[in-house]
Symmetry: C2
DNA sequence: AACGTGAGTTCGGATTTTGAACGGAGATCG
DNA sequence: CGATCTCCGTTCAAAATCCGAACTCACGTT
């Protein structure tokens, strides 16, 4: 793959990825200020460099860097959508699509706490049932909704060197 | 008059909060590199300045800044847990607890794509049913699991000035 | 008195981000 | 044919942020 990255970048993030914590490891990839915004747009169907850049209004170099990182991590796939002038588009891979719950959870929190009087800026319809909906998180085992208070965490098998929270 | 052609304004972080987008508005609060790590710890029961700082290993000033922001946004509540040397603790508010799905979605993605052979670093038990579980996102209306492909987005009531994705 | 602790604050240097300009390959216009 | 336009980047200096380390303060402990 060899995505020319500035490897001389001892970014704190490298260490994040080593942490025995799924949050840390995920954030090493998507925890950037703009990366989640890019993903938001990707889930809305944006595919082109120019569109990402124009919609976010950020520096082109940042867009380049973030897209490259996401491609390197297998979240986006870069592929030509035309030759002649060869142009590429950035599409979500399966791994990228798996991030949908993250975006939806963020959307839901924003809708709940920051939507103005008018209501949420975007409505989402579930094709399955045809209704406008919001995301609800449930337990994979019993199907009941899960809140923070319903959860008990403890070290798991991959917990080498995990620091106790207390 | 609908003239909303992006004047390519820089969109600083503070301006993010003004965007007609729940993702942007949420990220203006929690979209920072370390803020989500702080929240992760908060959900694991961390309450004290020193503990956050030690676990994250980041600059004290950053911890101060992030905690203050989260308090200002009503995600954390700062309150004394002793006088004499007056000491404070930071606790999740209801609004903060509402972020649980965000953390869980991130955990889930990390568990799925970055857990090593050993398995996830942390296991979570659902007190309701007693099982180890992972978070699943379902439609609030029909209760069926939702994936990215099942969703159709369109402008909602609070969509003033929303840029079309295309 | 000497030392330890929790919770910050300050400060100078290291990173990041940004705006603006530049490049290049093909397409389109006149 | 030359000029201009589009898309997708890259480069570079300046500005904004971030960071580590040291410092402060107000207690407690020995």
């Amino acid at each position: 793959m060899i995505v020319r990255q500035q490897e001389a970048q001892p970014m704190k993030w490298d260490e994040l990825a080593q942490e025995p914590c799924s949050v840390a490891r995920s954030l090493a990839v998507i925890g950037d200020r703009w990366t989640l915004m890019i993903l938001r747009d990707a889930f809305l169907g944006v595919r082109r460099f120019e569109t990402f850049q124009a919609r976010l209004g950020i520096s082109r170099s940042i867009v380049t860097e973030r897209l490259n990182l996401l491609v390197a991590e297998g979240v986006l796939q870069r592929r030509p959508y035309q030759d002649r002038p060869v142009r590429h588009e950035y599409r979500l891979t399966e791994k990228g699509l798996d991030l949908h719950p993250v975006i939806m959870a963020i959307v839901d929190w924003g809708d709940r706490h920051y939507a103005g009087e008018a209501g949420p800026p975007i409505l989402r319809r579930h094709k399955g049932c045809g209704c406008d909906f919001h995301a609800v998180q449930v337990c994979s085992e019993c199907g009941e909704p899960v809140t923070a208070r319903d959860v008990e965490a403890r070290p798991g098998p991959g917990a080498a060197g995990l620091r106790s929270p207390t």
